[in-house]
Amino acid sequence: MEMKVPTMAECIANGEVPEILFWVGCAGSFDDRAKKITKAIVKILNKAEVKFAVLGTEESCTGDPAKRAGNEFLFQMQAFTNIQVLNGYEVKKIVTGCPHCFNTLKNEYPDLGGNYEVIHHTQLIQQLIDSGKLKVEGGSFKGKKITFHDPCYLGRANNEYEAPRSVIEKLDSELTEMKRSRANGLCCGAGGAQMFKEAEHGDKEVNVERAEEALALNPNVIATGCPFCMTMMTDGVKHFNKEAEVKVYDVAELIANAQDL
């Protein structure tokens, strides 16, 4: 199926008002693995006939990694730039492909003049399924053992634990939980700008610790909802040479693959 990815600029030129803006994020735009998640989200949006648009080249980093790293100047510069663009297009509702963008847009932009209804892509998928716009039936993940790794900025940071799980349950797969899950979930090691630097000196990498915990369940799939968790968990699985047996997928990819989108 060919993807339809309209930009805000095109929509406005055609006199259309999209119901939702898809905020792709830097990882979703540039990281080879994360681009697959982006495409899966687009396929789902297309399939459910959601009128959406992306900012395309007008999108810029939300400033999340700068803010977590202590560079508030850079964060606010990014925020003001993005808010000018978003308010210029009179954006009301945003779906993000990344929990970090989600958190920043939802919680930190309002103080700076950016007020939008912001949801994470797993929440949108859940809404599409619940409202009947998207049909999901078992498919290729039927009976497969799946464990979900909670992204910190979706879970603890914003108390969303159920949306991704309820979507996974639609696949007729066996959802198993790690001991450290939900509010007690262990970070993948990428947050707080760690993604962009070497880890401090220690005796283990955080992603190895987390992958070890997930692999102990002998799952077929480790699912997540964040491009950074994706990188960390994929590397963690590789560390144990398990990449042939255990796949790491974003929840959006599970749905798109299950439906052969």
């Binding site: 792709v24 687009v42 790293a69 100047f73 940071a157 947050g191 880890a199 220690g202 190895v208």
Partner: protein, 432 residues
């Protein structure tokens, strides 16, 4: 009023004066922090306080420690009612002044024995967990000899107080049964009635001496404890409540918005905005020392009881990095104490929380995952301090790790943390 009553009264007043003076110092220290107005959402705050502090909801996430802690908590709060009787008896020279309440009195005194036993058992379990089972979180790097002794001392004092309480009741019963003058028949003793068998062989003079000694030991112990607590991690028994009341109600992922930065950024975006007047104090970005933190963050530090749940859930700490959220809180309190003492003595102070206590290596190990905040039974927020210190490192010292400095440059120049051109942002849409 006899000489013993006067001694009692003086001891009692003295202990409270000392306690009040110490509290005054702590309040002064907390007020050294910057302003933060939290007089909002009273109802919501009350609800959180009822649930988390009064209701101990986060304690029971770890059931063994949680339930044992509830034994001590309830025992401590309710048994303090008896303190009222002890004080009246001590001042007026009466014995069990509330005995006239009859059956109700027996019920209350009997209940105290149940609670007392709960406290005793819990304290012994806690000592075993710390010293024999040696649970990892009680032996990590920042748990040097004083923090470990502090915990053991508190548990030992509580065990001694409970032993004195039961001995007092046991000897009292024997004296009551013998109809010794002054020892009126009162109270019910579900546990110490068995313990009293130890004392039946002794003559009444010896018994009175033992009963009086443990009575004095008990009340002096309590007064000592009162003055030990505010110098110890044990101060959480008071601060837990305001600490939870004033805790963060926002989503944990929402970091504070720095208004000082907003003002500067607005100037850059809008040249017509009014620049600050020349006499405005220069703004300092982030926190270098305790006085740059908010009063809530400083109250957090005094509320920490060093249980280490934060550290044992910290991904950086679990994987052997230097960061320990508990150490962040302990360092903040120790530095604030030092700062306050220097202020009192008027001695010059050249140290700071950042570098002298907390190193950049610790700060850069944080993944900002909020596990420490989630784990804290009294809603302490170590992450907010870590971020404020990082802000100082980056915006005042330009002291970010090289890789992060590179990331900043990328975000600034091409709107992404990696070196990709913004013009290529939509290329994915045309890739198969």
């Amino acid at each position: 009023m006899g000489i013993s009553n006067i001694i009692f009264l003086l001891l009692f007043i003295g202990a409270f004066v000392l306690f009040a003076l110490r509290i005054k110092t702590i309040v002064r220290n907390i007020r050294l922090g910057t302003d933060k107005n939290l007089n909002d959402n009273f109802a919501e705050r009350l609800k959180v306080m009822s649930l988390v502090a009064i209701g101990q909801s986060k304690m029971v996430v770890r059931p063994v420690a949680g339930i044992m802690h509830i034994f001590i908590y309830i025992g401590f709060v309710i048994m303090n009612i008896e303190l009222l009787e002890i004080v009246i008896d001590g001042v007026a020279g009466t014995h069990r002044v509330f005995a006239f309440l009859g059956g109700f009195y027996d019920f209350v005194i009997g209940s105290f024995e149940f609670l007392g036993l709960g406290v005793l058992v819990a304290c012994i379990v806690f000592l075993v967990r710390r010293n024999i089972l040696k649970l990892k979180r009680f032996w990590s790097a920042e748990m040097t000899s004083w923090p470990r002794s502090d915990a053991n001392l508190i548990l030992t004092i509580e065990i001694l107080l409970m032993t004195a309480f039961f001995t007092m009741n046991a000897t009292d019963q024997v004296l009551q049964s013998r109809g010794v003058e002054h020892y009126i028949q009162a109270g019910a003793y579900p546990f110490s009635q068995y313990y009293s068998a130890l004392f039946t062989g002794l003559n009444s003079e010896t018994l009175i001496m033992i009963e009086r000694s443990v009575w004095w030991f008990h009340i002096c112990g309590i007064l000592f404890f009162l003055n030990y607590v505010p110098y110890s991690k044990h101060f959480h028994i008071l601060l837990a409540f305001p600490n939870v009341f004033y805790s963060n109600l926002n989503a944990k992922g929402k970091f504070t918005n720095m208004e000082s930065v907003t003002n500067e950024v607005k100037l850059m975006f809008d040249p017509s905005a009014t620049p600050p007047t020349a006499d405005a104090a220069p703004v300092k970005f982030g926190a270098k020392d305790v006085t740059d933190l908010t009063w809530v963050q400083l109250m957090n530090a005094y509320s920490c009881t060093e249980c280490g749940r934060c550290t044992s859930n910290c991904p950086a700490n679990i994987t052997g990095k230097k960061l320990s959220p508990r150490k962040i809180m302990m360092d903040t309190r120790d530095r604030l104490e030092e700062y306050g003492k220097n202020l009192d003595k008027n001695t010059p102070d050249t140290k700071s929380l950042l570098h002298d206590y907390i190193t950049p290596e610790e700060l850069w190990a944080c993944t900002s995952c909020n596990a420490c905040v989630e784990a804290c039974p009294v809603n302490i927020d170590p992450l907010s301090i870590i971020v404020d210190l990082r802000r100082n490192l980056v915006m005042e010292e330009s002291n970010a790790p090289a890789a992060l400095a590179g990331m900043f440059t990328n975000v600034e120049n091409n709107g992404a943390p990696w070196q990709f051109a913004q013009a290529d942002r939509l290329n994915w849409a045309n890739e198969a």
